[in-house]
Symmetry: C2
Subunit: 204 residues, 2 copies
């Protein structure tokens, strides 16, 4: 599988043909059929690959456990994204890369302040989940952990997370960071924006 | 199954215990376990009931067809909701019912205007889907049709939809409205807000 970089704000015709919503991510599956959106891709990969993975599967067997995993994926990719991550990424990481006509320019400090005020609640909830369940949806690593780690690694890169009073969340994130599948992601860099110094440290 | 009305803006303690995100809908499943969120509920109902329904199932067998259904459900419950429905419902239907402290009061005409400007695109896309596919995700009725019909019935209630130049979408919505499962919904009313005159007509 190869990674293709796309700037959704350019609204390329070929890109909109794959997904008229103009959003990422898109998986080009068998026959280059576009599978659109993170949760849709996760379900597709589980149905076509995950069911064969047994105890390494990122989803559960039981419908109620599956509902809990999906609820948490929606929490981190929906609620955390719209209350926190999207705003900080747009203002701090994307605007410097975007042309003015596409919405680039100076960061909006009001949006940054509002997003920062919301982080604490999301971190506290994650701390509670990690403290009661080991992995966020239960005793095994699932898509819920990957969704949460995606949000937190972006926020941590930007130096927006104060881990000090959230030992269970910190311990959970350290376990995610230590996994062979996650470690290469920690080497990714945003052009022109260095990560916080502890970003790639497994013990932070 | 019984329907329990909940005002999420009241943020009742018992309600937040069921869903700390404070959002609707919630299904109280076997043992009163809360299943949270429209898409999570749909997946749960399909896994526990739908698989037995054969040709009356609202989901597909094939992973790629399932991905297309999920993409469209996310379109209508995510994109249409955040670009159109949420704003018109909040400004026109909920604000008159909400206390000022919870965000009630006079409608914001800028928000209404922005939402109205976006409707046309969603209607046009639906018209294209209905014109090429009969039902929105293919040859059979699926969750994609229910998600779209949920958005459009709310907008139609509010008189926000101009069906005239979108014959295929209109014909599709007429077929949805005619179904025995959908017709009782057309009798629902928002307190203090009458629907547009053609709202419950099967031929409009």
């Amino acid at each position: 599988m190869a990674l293709i970089e796309e700037n959704p704000w350019s609204r390329r015709k070929e890109f909109l043909a794959l997904n008229p919503a103009g959003t990422l991510p898109i998986l080009l599956a068998e026959g280059d059929v576009p599978i659109v959106g993170a949760t849709v891709i996760a379900e597709y990969l589980d149905e076509t690959r995950g069911v064969l993975k047994r105890d390494r599967r990122l989803f559960a067997e039981n419908p109620m456990d599956r509902a809990e995993i999906r609820r948490l994926v929606d929490w981190y990719l929906g609620k955390t994204e719209s209350e926190v991550t999207r705003h900080l990424v747009r203002e701090r990481a994307l605007k410097p890369l975007m042309p003015d006509a596409a919405g680039g320019g100076s960061p909006d400090s009001t949006a940054i302040r509002a997003a920062r005020a919301n982080i604490r609640q999301h971190l506290k909830y994650t701390n509670w989940l990690a403290g009661t369940r080991h992995w966020l949806a239960g005793s095994r690593l699932t898509y819920a952990d990957l969704a949460a780690a995606a949000a937190f690694s972006v926020l941590d890169y930007l130096g927006e997370i104060d881990w000090r009073d959230n030992a269970a969340a910190r311990d959970w994130y350290m376990r995610v960071k230590s996994r062979p599948s996650f470690r290469p992601l920690l080497a990714d860099r945003v052009r022109g924006l260095a990560p916080v110094s502890h970003y790639a440290d497994l013990d932070f």
